[in-house]
Point group: C2
Chain length 401, copies 2
């Protein structure tokens, strides 16, 4: 008997379950494994022996799983330590108990490091278990790929909400600034993507040290020129000394008010204190962007599903371990096309790919046309969702059953 | 020559333009008026003579207008004063200049008061101009109707984001509370609607004085019972003395941290200070809910469009003035059905309809089944949106042309 295990780790996305569905469906089309087990709460739950049999999920449930946001198996932030055998041995024990030969791990760069560490350890110890990575992250910051599943759908929601809130803001005559805050602690991909809407006047990224004086100068110019200023800020935006804007540097700079909360609230306070605008509105996208299933990108959900399929199919080769499947951008007759490849997990682990400096316009003016050309094809297409009672149907998470 | 004028006022919604589209389309089907003028920025722009000819909008533009959120004519918060003739006379002057006999005003209770004041003044002064109201408000707080256009779509977005963020939250194992904040300064309709998701553990409404001790007791119970607590709070939630939670009463109550920002951030601080949970996540729906066009309710957009049609059609009767068209709930064979009626504008003006006390469960436990039965039919159905480049297409706002 040869079984496989699939688990999810790190922050949820809108399409991480599509990759899970891909692994399950691939095994239904070609039963390389007798059973497909889901690990509950990632490696953490697997070490506890917490598994759920996914082998025979119905076609309808697979369709609904693809549109169910977040991690249907539950997630964890557990990082395996190199150099301490305990967890490794316990994992092999659990895998042996269930006849599991191969494990698929869907996650971000920490999880890809786990895949790397596990396959290295197994090979060094003459254990034939195999470990295969499937990437996901709304941060879009993995190194050797064109983009990461989860990011396009988060970008699509962010772009749609940018446009909707811009229209809301633009209906008024009163002098006021609008500030949208997105996720992105180290990399500004999500914030930058909002520029696809065409509505962003000023963009504040973590990739550029924040200079309050230069920024306020730009706000003033936009207000004078257009009577409005729509600002997007990434949660991780920071001053030159590394202090996050969100941490309330403004308060330390002699402004009158204490600043708590996120980068958006802090920017608002800086603008109000400067007297440039008497009012400001802040919209924090926070988790709504990464977990919304009502605005999935068809490109994203399809690619995430196919990555799951591809990982499963490649794993039929018994030498396939310590690898991650990823997406390169190819162009077919000038149109966007995704190309799937497999690379060593070590190349995917522990590095952060920032938003490219050459795509950032000076003075908070947004991004280049090249950047927009990168984003645009990723948000194309709308999956035909299954609705129930006016809401996109979802599966009950396996970790709640 | 007989023309009409249509304008928008107050806070935008996702379907206020569907009512505008209804007036325009009705006049194309039966040209009661030679021209349909749009007033830019509500009564404020109309007094400046700022009009836009909408008569011949194409079928495609009308379809896209129906899915364009916010106020495509721009909005204002200008309130006509009773007892000062100046604005009234100027308005009649502008209407005369453009041959306008009837004005449709799409707005909330302040705007319905404007309709009432204008028609009263016109009748008292022997002026044959007519004024007709079309309601809209995400707050759902107009008195003589079952519900207000704009509310169902905002509720649909709020419910979908509640479920998506609940799934995101539920994927983790760490002890943490989740707090979603919705709009609703005086009435808790939007916050209450989130309970349709089935995911809300505790609900904090403006209709019930906030008791921090009793509330924390409930948070503790949920955390002990389920290891999670998903909380929805309305921005207008307040203590018995009228102080908004958002205003930072916690800081005055001897807790250690200053509290700024919204009700959600304040609740989080109160919970962290109590030591019940070490972490809390806040998602502020703010304007994203009222202005999102990617999750319109088909019931809502259809009703908003038909209210515009109905107002135009009824206005063919030359005695029709000082009236507002509204929706009553009827049932056809047990299923939800909307019934259109016209009532005096005075009945729609200046009163707030709170979320009913008999629909509120004690101890922040949410709402009754009756309340859920009220909400459910309103969010049914998804309009077939026109997409361009992965985003729902929108018209360039007329106030920006």
């Amino acid at each position: 008997m040869s079984n496989c295990l699939v688990a999810q780790s790190g922050g949820p996305t809108a399409v991480i379950n599509a990759s899970l569905a891909g692994v399950i469906r691939a095994n239904q089309l070609n039963p390389v494994y007798d059973r497909v087990f889901g690990g509950i709460h990632g490696i953490e739950g697997v070490l506890d022996g917490s598994l759920y049999d996914l082998t025979d999920l119905s076609g309808r449930d697979i369709d609904i799983l693809k549109q169910t946001p977040s991690s249907a198996l539950g997630t964890c932030r557990y990082k395996l330590k190199r150099g301490d055998d305990k967890d490794y041995k316990r994992l092999v024990e659990v895998m042996d108990e269930h006849g599991i030969d191969a494990m698929f791990y869907i996650g971000g760069n920490d999880s890809m490091d786990t895949v790397d560490a596990l396959s290295e350890w197994a090979q060094a110890n003459g254990i034939s278990k195999r470990f295969i990575g499937i990437p996901k992250t709304v941060d879009n910051d993995l190194v050797p790929v064109d983009h990461c599943p989860g990011f396009p759908s988060a970008a699509k929601v962010a772009i749609e909400i940018t446009h909707a809130t811009y229209l809301d803001y633009a209906a008024y005559t009163r002098p006021e600034v609008f500030i949208l805050e997105t996720m992105g602690r180290d990399a500004g991909w999500l914030a930058a993507s909002c520029c696809v809407s065409g509505d962003v006047d000023l963009l504040v990224l973590p990739e550029v040290d924040f200079d309050a004086k230069a920024f306020l100068n730009q706000v003033q110019k936009k207000m004078a020129l257009k009577g409005e200023c729509y600002i997007v800020v990434s949660e991780g935006a920071h001053y030159a000394d590394g202090t996050y804007i969100a941490a309330g540097k403004a308060a330390n700079d002699g402004f009158s008010h204490a600043v708590l909360g996120g980068a958006g609230q802090a920017l608002k306070q800086i603008i109000l204190d400067s007297g440039i605008a008497p009012r400001g509105v802040v919209q924090d996208l926070s988790r709504a962007a990464r977990s919304s299933n009502f605005a999935q990108s068809l490109v994203d959900v399809t690619e995430a599903f196919e990555l799951g399929m591809s990982a499963h199919m490649r794993s039929a080769d018994p030498s396939f371990t310590g690898k991650v499947v990823g997406i390169r951008r190819a162009s077919a007759d000038g149109a966007y096309n995704a190309e799937f490849f497999a690379g060593p997990a070590s190349e995917f682990a522990n590095a952060v790919r920032n938003f490219p400096a050459e795509w950032i316009l000076p003075d908070y003016q947004g991004v280049t046309e090249e950047a927009l050309d990168y984003f645009r094809p990723l948000i194309e297409g709308e999956p035909k969702l299954v609705f129930e009672g006016g809401r996109p149907a979802t599966l009950v998470p396996f970790n709640k059953r």
